[in-house]
């Protein structure tokens, strides 16, 4: 339907094909291939020889550059830094190897291209195109061959064979799918909890400084600074550190209690000290920038901005929910401690997240 709707609208002939039927008074007829324009090197033997010398020179420079490469490899110490204008301080070995290798390769290329352009024939030739579609007799033969083959196989007639074959072919890849099962564990509730989950009122976990590994006291968290903390006992050398810190990292701020707009949030803190997850709820970058006047923190990855004085609410950017908060208090010695997990799963959201 839509087919015949258009066919008659196609122009009967195309200008570009017109040259075979070119009527002489068609001003736009294809005049045919222009005559070849000779180059100097085609007619002047001296020019041709000059081009030859140029090409040979390029190939020779390439050989010298390769020797230079090998020499540089031997001569330059790997840790030597030199100043080369305008590139600044660079490794002398890297610079020498790269430029010599580059010259060796480039000169081969330049030589070959120059050779082609000056000394090889540049007479334009036309090749014919043939339609890609097979002629009608070929088409008919292939289709009848196929029909004969299909008929002989009995694929169409013996329905039982056909159906069981399809069934077995459809099932067999399942083995491969099953084998993928051990790629990883099932999610279970893993994403809901962090290392802080082990903390209880009876067995609290101390917050230790990310830098010094020392337990943090309330006075260590001063107004205007962002203090990074982790659970006590988690050290860089511990097994699974990367995985643990990806969820346990905490940032502490101190805000004058009257400036904290969100009541539940204030109550999870201690004397204006609030502990939030450092992991952005967008796609999980660590948050690092703090603006003390506004109490905003900014994620450097996609600029999600959270207001720490208002329950870490998202005030800008692509994050979808507030930063989880960790309830903290102090123990008898004045150390900051947590008695439970964050108030929400840490990090980016996911389907099972309530």
């Amino acid at each position: 339907m839509s087919h015949d709707m258009s066919e008659e609208k196609l122009p009967e002939h195309r200008g570009s094909e017109g040259h075979e039927v070119a009527v002489h008074d068609d001003p736009f007829a294809d005049p045919g291939l222009p005559p070849h324009e000779v180059r100097r090197t085609d007619i002047d033997e001296r020019a041709a020889r000059r081009a030859e010398r140029q090409v040979a020179l390029l190939f020779t420079v390439s050989m010298l550059a390769t020797i230079g490469f090998i020499a540089s490899y031997v001569v330059f110490p790997i840790d030597q830094i030199v100043f080369i204008w305008p590139f600044g301080h660079v490794s002398s070995l890297n610079f020498a190897l790269g430029t010599t290798l580059g010259a060796a390769l480039f000169c081969i290329g330049a030589g070959a291209v120059h050779w082609a352009r000056t000394l090889m024939s540049d007479v334009e030739v036309a090749d014919e195109r043939h339609p890609i579609e097979a002629p009608e007799d070929v088409r008919a033969k292939v289709i009848s061959d196929f029909k004969a083959g299909a008929e002989e196989s009995g694929f169409g007639r013996r329905k039982l064979l056909r159906n069981t074959l399809i069934g077995s072919m459809a099932l067999v890849p399942l083995s491969g799918v099953v084998l993928l099962r051990d790629l990883g564990p099932l999610p279970g509730k893993k994403l809901e909890h962090t290392g802080w989950d082990a903390a209880t009122p009876a067995k609290p976990i101390k917050l230790v400084s990310m830098n010094t590994d020392e337990p943090l006291k309330a006075e260590d968290v001063t107004v205007g600074s962002l203090v990074f903390a982790k659970p006590q006992g988690l050290s860089e050398a511990s097994e699974g550190f990367q995985q643990a810190i990806a969820k346990d990292a905490v940032m502490l701020v101190r805000i004058a209690p009257e400036d904290i707009k969100d009541r539940p949030s204030r109550e999870m803190g201690f004397d204006g000290i609030l502990a939030f997850s450092k992991i952005c709820t967008h796609v999980g970058c660590p948050i690092s920038l703090y603006e003390q006047q506004t109490h905003h923190v900014l994620c450097p990855c996609h600029q999600s901005t959270f207001d720490l004085s208002d329950g870490a609410r998202v005030i800008f950017g692509p994050a979808g929910h507030p930063l989880p908060q960790l309830k903290i208090k102090t123990d008898a010695d004045g150390n900051l401690i947590a008695t439970g997990d964050f108030n929400a799963p840490v990090g980016p959201s996911y389907w099972e997240r309530a």
Partner: protein, 552 residues
């Protein structure tokens, strides 16, 4: 070989009717032909004609950078350790001495500071990868704007588009391998994106990472995919791509002697062997020099990855920048209901990606449906002569650029002292407005150029010479065009828009006009109606103007 010479000298061989080889080389070729049939293969290919145009080199750049990537990549595998096992670094790079890091990161430091030439090969590998994706994108644009995706080349268009996607992903995985602070952030991004997939997200994440982020498995798994799986598929696609280029023969631009039925140019051997072969060395040479003087991905400056640390100016390689832009522009929409969360803020950008892919893949078929054109096309269009297509392409590029800019919104903010907030809002609006404006402007430009071509054909080229007529008027002398130029400017096809079939057929019975017919007629009007093209001059118009009153 000995068999061949034996056969040749044996004389009374029962079945060989072949002429005696003139020399050793011919004998060797005869030997190979007897087993591989190389003569039949070379018959039409050795002197195969390739048309010449600078834009036809773009595909070559893709091929050459791919070869460079394979060569340098294999070298890197000799030293790189794809492991997340932890070690304490004691190599030559002093600032990181004594620091804990993964073996992947440590071995990349070793490649950079303890293997002579290792840094150069790393740099060449990375620069070539950047160039590779850029070349593919520009090559794709060339194919698009000249309509070289039309029948019979639609399938090759799809092969190419798959190569582009695979190349981008392989590049992303490649720069994730060193496990440095910058690329680790990229992997974290990937984790967040996977988690945003509804229903199966957490399962996918666990299976991908072998547990919770980051786990110990992701780098070795990415490594296998990066060096084996994807390059293998790409190699297959690339070979198929090139075979089809040979089989279809290259398109050419209209010009004297160039028709839909021929291909005009110079033969593969020797001219293109020398030019294309030489060009490989030029590309390789330039990449080497760039790698000698410009550092890319100085992983030692970022430090090893730690999930709680970040390098502030985190930026992916340029070709991933658009995804960064998408994710930055998207508002943080999250739907929470019945104990579940649907993270639209991440999931929608994630879905736009496959949608764009599908759009690229199907465009040739959409255009063919609109035109109803079932002929083969071997004359490349000049972009101006297909204004709607060209404007679609330009709009697509503008969208890509908007997203790239949005991906660097923080850089723009600090550079131009603007607030991130206002930049983000500007870019959100630009995301919708700029492509539309680009479409409109591009179409106008194309139409203007078509009009200029028409004037040139009818009135000749402006010569820049001013003449004073007897009655005092000044006019510029117009030189008439040569027959070759006249042909070139009028050689293109101009389709007429399809019309809807009459509402009643010959028998007076009401015809049903389907919605798709209506849509097609409307699109066709957009492409080929008065708004879509300037009628090219006819021979009558030309004759009337040139014969009648001389030309001025």
């Amino acid at each position: 070989m000995s068999a061949a010479s034996g056969a040749a000298s044996g004389g009374a061989k029962p079945s060989s009717s072949r002429a005696k080889p003139a020399n050793k080389a011919e004998a060797a070729a005869d030997w190979a032909d007897g087993r591989l049939g190389i003569y039949s293969l070379a018959k039409s290919n050795l002197r195969k004609i390739f048309p010449d145009h600078w834009s036809f080199m773009l595909g070559e750049i893709c091929l050459y950078t791919f070869i460079i990537i394979i060569l340098t990549g294999v070298y890197l595998t000799l030293f790189f350790k794809p492991s997340m096992g932890e070690v304490v670094y004691h190599g030559s790079y002093m600032p990181l001495n004594g620091i804990r890091m993964s073996e992947a990161y440590a071995s990349t430091l070793d490649i950079s500071f303890d293997v002579r030439g290792g840094l150069l090969i790393r740099q060449i590998h990375h620069w070539a990868a950047i160039l590779f994706v850029a070349a593919m994108l520009v090559h794709m644009m060339r194919v698009f704007f000249t309509g070289a995706f039309r029948k019979p080349r639609e399938i090759n268009w799809i092969f190419g588009a798959m190569l582009l996607i695979l190349g981008m992903f392989d590049g992303f995985m490649g720069y994730s391998l060193p496990d440095d602070l910058l690329s680790g952030t990229g992997i974290r991004f990937m984790e967040g994106a996977v988690l945003a997939v509804p229903i199966v997200g957490t399962y996918l994440q666990m299976f991908l990472f072998g547990g919770q982020f980051p786990g110990d498995d992701i780098i070795p798994r990415l490594f296998t995919v990066h060096v084996l799986l994807i390059p293998g598929i790409m190699l297959g696609l690339l070979v198929a791509h090139l075979i089809l280029v040979f089989y279809h023969k290259h398109t050419q631009f209209a010009g004297p002697g160039r028709t839909e039925k021929n291909v005009v140019g110079m033969p593969l051997m020797p001219v293109y062997m020398a030019k294309a072969g030489g060009f490989f060395f030029l590309v390789f040479g330039v990449t080497s020099v760039v790698s000698a003087i410009a550092t890319v991905n100085p992983i030692w400056a970022y430090g090893p990855y730690r999930p709680d640390q970040v390098s502030t100016d985190a930026q992916p390689d340029w070709y991933m920048g658009f995804s960064e832009g998408l994710i930055r522009l998207m508002p943080g929409w999250e739907i929470r209901a019945w104990g579940h969360t649907l993270n639209l803020g991440v999931f929608i950008p994630l879905m736009i990606f496959p949608l764009v892919l599908v759009a690229i893949w199907v465009y040739p078929f959409i255009e063919a449906w609109v035109t109803g054109d079932k002929r083969e096309h071997h004359i490349a269009d000049r972009p101006r002569n297909a204004p709607v297509r060209t404007s679609f392409g330009a709009a697509w590029i503008s969208l890509y650029l908007v997203l790239l800019v949005a991906g660097g919104n923080d850089l723009f903010a600090t550079h131009f002292h603007m607030s991130i907030n206002s930049i983000t809002w500007t870019m959100r609006i630009a995301f919708f407005v700029v492509p539309v404006l680009t479409f409109i402007v591009t179409k106008r430009i194309c139409m203007g150029l078509q009009r200029r071509d028409r004037d040139k054909v009818l009135h000749g080229r402006e010569s820049g010479i001013i003449k004073r007529l007897p009655h005092g008027e000044f006019i510029e002398v117009h030189e008439p065009l040569s027959p070759a130029q006249l042909h070139k400017l009028t050689a293109h096809d101009q389709l007429r828009p399809v019309e809807l079939p009459a509402a009643v057929d010959e028998n007076g019975v009401k015809r049903k006009i389907t919605r798709s017919q209506k849509l097609r007629a409307k699109l066709s009007r957009g492409y080929f109606g008065e708004e879509g093209q300037i009628a090219k001059p006819t021979a009558e118009e030309y004759r009337e103007i040139t014969s009648g009153h001389g030309h001025h």
